[in-house]
């Protein structure tokens, strides 16, 4: 039973989170580093280039890497202080097992003994309950080599269908919509196209805090005359100086997109040539949006008619444009429909596949793009192949040296895996790079599920809140302790370089996985001696797929500052911009630039539905959640970096003074927010920069400070993304 240690305070005293600050060599001046390692930041999807200063096998600081073209030396505060995660007092240096008698509830154990125990437990559970009774949860911050290996390990070694990853909470709505509309899931353009756009439309993206360097692209475009339209329930820093701000009610994005398309049609702001020659399905969409007149759009979205008309006029009449969206429209029980609504607006304008004409989702996690392409998703095989497609199964089985019949079928999404744990269908779990106890919605349910597991093994570098439940903890590797590739926000494959060796008994994650395979007696296919060897197999496994990496090499990445996939041969330079006229792809085979047999993009009817849990008399306000600039995801790393903790130490509840006034709440007062699932008490931040019918709380904290106690586990029926961005709550002042 994966119960929490009885004295959690003692666990936290021993394993943290403790905030680390610069000490020793990191504070001394005039120290000559042994080497400067060119690599990338370990946090968000932008993957800014950075040079790490290394002295005596420790990262002691950083130097900007101004030659890397995406960020040219620019970094956010997380990038600046990322080096403090190394040499950290909380670093897991040994394997541990649960031991109520030990300090903090865990005692050290020999690494080999821990691996043996994990293998024994996997075998015991799978023998008693079947292969699918053991689940694997992974993450989109892993390098692509590790993500590939995790998919292979689950399917080929554990023979379980149940593997899924934390990208389920991130990019899956956009991914599903992109596949439906374009047949391919990748940002359509490099960010350099933002600079050449006349209108930039940003929906549900807190660009300045979640993708800070992208701000410079957007604002540079504005210097050259671009108009910026921002759609958000809050005035975020990118919205502060925008040309048009549309303060949308959470969960009403499709209504806005349909309303804009309605006005585009009414005013004939359409690219008829593009619609007839390069797309299909426009008529059905046009018929569907006929009802979405400005009055109805205004009523549903909570935006004034005047503002909607202005937005449509600018978008409709522009010669070039770039539409960006992020979790704000994707984290919904109709997240895929939201994205499809946005794509319809782009397709109707015909402004895609050319310089200065672009569309992209802003990827959230380090390897949010690459981590969703090569098989750690429950329904997917390497090369963005489909696990239910017999041809795809046969190809990948061939690369792995097994029969297609040996490959499990599709498993279920990460949240559904917990429901299966709850029902006793999944009895054992291995997790890496995922902290579901903080990051999943309605997380008191997640805690109850973890407690039901027969056996839980966590691979990590810090003991995160989920790993506190573990029976065995295996010490894995930090970002700077391994090499491999990741694919950043633009679809550019870049290389993470190793700066230091893992400390103590800690090992690179792929070695840990291979050690488990060996202890299970299923070593075949898991005898790689380096990430490069894994990458070379991945290149073959992805060959001919949509996400074709076969022509990418470590050397080419270094030479070109990254390679945009698809890159189908070694003499191919990569593909920075998708959908260019005349471009070839393996699905259309020359009939057109989109990834369908006829080479045409798809319009998709996107019907409006309200949020799964709308407001009512009992719970009259909307709760929405998101990030702050100094923290990252569930905070496993950033809550351990002192200067970042100090920048925004604890979550606050943002609310408008109109609401605060009604409830007699002043700035700084303790306020309780309650949903049907949970309750939280935090200080109020009373600001005019949020809609009066909405409250906002950032999600990076655990336990009593976790807003995910309140969020709803309603999921999109297609992408299975949870509805983090809207649920019903009530608010009261604490006496």
């Amino acid at each position: 039973m994966a119960l929490l240690p009885e004295n959690l305070l003692a666990t936290e005293q021993r394993f943290g989170p403790h905030p680390a600050y610069s000490t020793g060599a990191r504070l001394e001046t005039g120290i000559e580093p042994d080497k400067l390692v060119k690599t990338h930041c370990c946090f968000c999807g932008q993957q800014c280039g950075i040079q790490l200063k290394v002295k005596d096998n420790e990262v002691i600081g950083f130097e900007p890497w101004e030659d890397f073209p995406f960020n040219r030396g620019m970094l956010c505060p997380k990038g600046v202080k990322r080096y403090l995660q190394g040499g950290h007092p909380d670093r897991l240096l040994h394997a541990y097992q649960r031991d109520p008698a030990a300090a903090g509830g865990f005692c050290e154990m020999a690494y080999d003994e821990a691996i043996e125990r994990v293998a024994t437990e996997i075998q015991r559970i799978q023998t008693a309950y079947g292969n699918d009774a053991f689940g694997v949860l992974t993450g989109a911050s892993l390098t692509t080599e590790k993500a590939y290996l995790m998919g292979k390990f689950a399917r080929m070694c554990l023979k379980t269908a149940n593997i899924d990853y934390n990208g389920r909470l991130c990019m899956v709505s956009a991914a599903a919509a992109n596949k439906k509309a374009f047949g391919i899931d990748r940002a359509a353009n490099p960010w350099s196209d933002i600079l050449k756009a006349e209108v930039i439309w940003i929906s549900g993206a807190n660009v300045a805090e979640c993708a800070p360097i992208t701000t410079n692209y957007v604002w540079q475009a504005r210097e050259y005359g671009a108009k910026i339209i921002v759609v958000d329930p809050r005035i975020t820093p990118i919205a502060r100086t925008c040309d048009l701000f549309l303060p949308i009610k959470p969960g009403r994005d499709i209504a806005l997109f349909n309303g804009i398309l309605h006005l585009m049609i009414e005013n004939d702001w359409l690219d008829h040539d593009f619609i007839s020659r390069h797309a299909v399905g426009f008529e059905a969409v046009a018929a569907h949006v006929r009802d979405w007149n400005p009055k109805k759009t205004a009523e549903v979205t909570g935006i004034s008619e005047r503002a909607i008309r202005q937005a449509a006029e600018w978008w409709g009449q522009s010669k070039s444009s770039f539409l960006l969206h992020a979790r704000g429209i994707e984290h919904h029980s109709h997240g895929v429909q939201n994205c499809l609504g946005a794509i319809n607006m782009v397709l109707a304008s015909g402004r895609i596949g050319r310089e200065g004409c672009g569309y992209a989702t802003i990827t959230g996690q380090a390897n949010g793009q690459g981590g969703r392409e090569h098989g750690q998703k429950c329904d997917q095989l390497p090369g963005a192949r489909d696990i239910s497609n017999p041809e795809h199964r046969a190809y990948v089985a061939g690369v792995w040296g097994i029969t297609p019949e040996e490959l499990p079928q599709a498993g279920v999404d990460a949240y559904e895996m917990f429901r299966r744990i709850d029902r006793g269908e999944i009895r054992g779990l291995l997790s890496i790079c995922f902290n579901p106890k903080v990051s999943l919605p309605d997380n008191n349910f997640i805690t109850r599920c973890l407690e039901k597991l027969d056996f839980y093994v966590a691979i990590d570098f810090f003991l995160n809140e989920t790993a506190q439940h573990a029976d065995v903890v295996l010490p894995g590797s930090l970002h700077e302790e391994d090499e491999g590739v990741v694919t950043q926000i633009e679809g550019r494959v870049i290389k993470i370089n190793k700066a230091v060796d893992p400390p103590g008994d800690a090992k690179q994650d792929w070695r840990v996985i291979q050690d488990i395979a060996k202890a299970l007696g299923r070593e075949r296919g898991f005898t790689f001696s380096s990430p490069r060897e894994i990458f070379d197999e991945l290149r073959i496994a992805s060959k001919g797929g949509i996400a074709d990496y076969s022509g990418i090499t470590y050397e080419k990445i270094e030479k070109q500052y990254g390679v945009f996939w698809p890159c189908p041969s070694e003499d191919h330079p990569g593909t920075p911009r998708l959908f260019e006229p005349g471009s070839w792809n393996p699905i259309a085979k020359g009939t057109g630039p989109y990834y369908f047999p006829d080479g045409r993009a798809r319009f998709n009817v996107a019907p409006y539905t309200p949020p799964a849990e709308d407001v009512d008399d009992e719970y009259p306000l909307m709760l929405t959640t998101g990030r702050v600039v100094s923290q990252y995801l569930s905070g496993t790393q950033t809550r351990r970096i002192g200067p970042l903790v100090d920048q925004y130490p604890e979550p606050l509840i943002e609310m408008h003074p109109q609401l605060a006034g009604k409830l007699a709440i002043a700035n700084g007062d303790l306020v309780t927010v309650e949903s049907r699932r949970g309750v939280i008490t935090l200080p109020a931040m009373v600001v005019t920069t949020i809609r009066p019918d909405t409250v906002f709380v950032p999600y990076h904290w655990p336990g009593k400070k976790s807003i995910n106690q309140l969020t709803i586990s309603a999921q999109d029926p297609i992408s299975k993304i949870p509805e983090y961005k809207v649920c019903a709550v009530r608010v009261r002042k604490e006496k």
Binding site: V80, P212, E299
Partner: protein, 215 residues
């Protein structure tokens, strides 16, 4: 990446996103590791997310040096005003109180005034200052006048400021919107007389959003 000598520092508060990358990076500078010399504040968080960074403006006639009774604050030949000389500084706080931009910081642990020296360790070796290198929105920019003119066609740099009777010329420039005439901030006129100029409407959401009951 070596940078040419004619590089200048430009500050564009309109571009600030308040992320504090500059504040965090400043504390990585070799001459004052662990301490940040940049000031970054919300202007009025209750009504706006606007923030403003302040680095040392490096005045031609630095007020901090003029009021220093110990002659501890020196300017380099190339116009960079430095942290007080440890041997001379008497930690009297005169400079902290007198600087019109509020730049110097009194480090009571060391009994020493410390301030932004435009990363002298870096700029003297041809590198850009740490803050202006990392700033993700380039609110802090280090480059040539030609570069900033190309990159910010809507703004114009100014390096003259007036505080009451005092006119100050600085090495660092502030970017101002081209469309409006440069207006001097006159503190004395605002004292007891009400602020001059237009009232800026900050409650954007109050205006544009359709009023409806939330209860």
């Amino acid at each position: 990446m070596p940078v040419p000598d004619q590089n200048e520092f430009f500050m564009d508060p309109n571009r600030c996103i308040g992320c504090q990358a500059c504040v965090q990076a400043c504390s990585e500078c070799e001459t004052h590791k662990g301490y940040s010399m940049i000031h970054l504040d919300f202007v009025d968080r209750a009504h706006s997310v606007q923030t403003a960074p302040v680095v040392c403006m490096h005045c031609d006639s630095p007020t901090c040096a003029e009021v220093c009774p110990a002659d501890a604050i020196k300017k380099t030949a190339d116009g960079v005003v430095q942290t007080a000389r440890k041997a001379r500084c008497i930690a009297c706080n005169n400079c902290v109180l007198a600087c019109p931009f509020g730049v110097p910081k009194m480090k009571t642990d060391f009994k020493l005034m410390m301030k932004c020296d435009m990363c002298y360790d870096r700029t003297s070796e041809g590198l850009k200052p740490m803050c202006a290198t990392v700033c993700p929105s380039q609110a802090l920019f280090f480059g040539t006048r030609e570069q900033i003119e190309l990159l910010r066609p809507r703004s114009v740099p100014t390096n003259q400021f007036r505080f009451g009777e005092q006119t100050i010329n600085t090495k660092v420039s502030m970017m101002l919107p081209k469309s409006g005439k440069a207006e001097y901030v006159d503190v004395t006129q605002a004292m007891g007389e009400g602020v001059l100029g237009k009232t800026i409407s900050l409650n954007i959401l109050d205006g544009i959003y359709n009023e409806e009951s939330t209860e």
